[in-house]
Amino acid sequence: MRVAERDAPAAADDAEVIERSWHEPERFAVLFDRHAPFIHRYAARRIGAEAAEDLVAETFLAAFGKRRQYDTSYPDARPWLYGIATNLVGQHRRDEFRQYRIQRAALPDLDPPGHAERVAASVTAHGMRRLLTAALADLPDGERDVLILIAWEQLSYDETARALGIPLGHRPVPAEPGQGQAPPGTRRRRLFRDDQGDLAR
């Protein structure tokens, strides 16, 4: 019975763990053990392995500090942690852009002219990857955050919206004249699904 009670936090969902940690702060370490590897990998992808360790520490310290603000209606805290980590990535933009340069440099060069068939086959894939890597780096910060959380970290639309504090709707904010003007900044930050289920901004 006692053992079961002691083991209970390990089986409890994140919301329960966080709630218990309000009075028993050491419980919060359970959250670290569950999610830190994924936050570390996310950080390493965005700002490089060297800076990732610091970002993980900062993420969990910030999360611990504001754990009383956590909305316990969400049993999974990972999107919340991704949101905190994403905000902190903003303080590491220089590291992030260095990562994009490294990623672009790591893409193999196209075959030299003359190998027409191979060039034809690879030009689309390689060219597109270079183009996309550059485009990703050029995106406004908020849009890049959305795209990366969904495409790289496999968060759902709802989880991404929750992580970034973006309202989730099913229709774009009106942009055409005569349909009303979106408040400044909301168009870029609004996340929605179009009829095909594709991500749109």
Binding site: F28, R41, E53, A151, W152, D198
Partner: protein, 72 residues
């Protein structure tokens, strides 16, 4: 293949970290947790036996913990 699939293909292949890579961040979190524990204990101890001034007790506005002493 849509645009999202293409961006997904660009996902940098980064392995999950080894436990040693997380030891530093975990230590920092553990220290913060211990710090909060210590703060809470200090607050509790400094709160024990603390009563509002007698004049407040006499005005019956003191905290419940101190009331028994007031009534005596």
């Amino acid at each position: 293949m849509n645009d999202l699939d293409l961006v997904t293909e660009l996902t940098p292949q980064v392995p999950l970290p080894a436990p040693a890579d997380l030891a530093g961040p975990r230590r920092r979190l553990t220290a913060a947790i211990a710090g909060e524990r210590t703060d809470a204990r200090t607050r509790d101890e400094s709160g024990k036996g603390a009563h509002l001034p007698t004049s407040s007790c006499q005005r019956r506005t003191c905290c419940p913990r101190s009331r028994p002493r007031c009534s005596s």
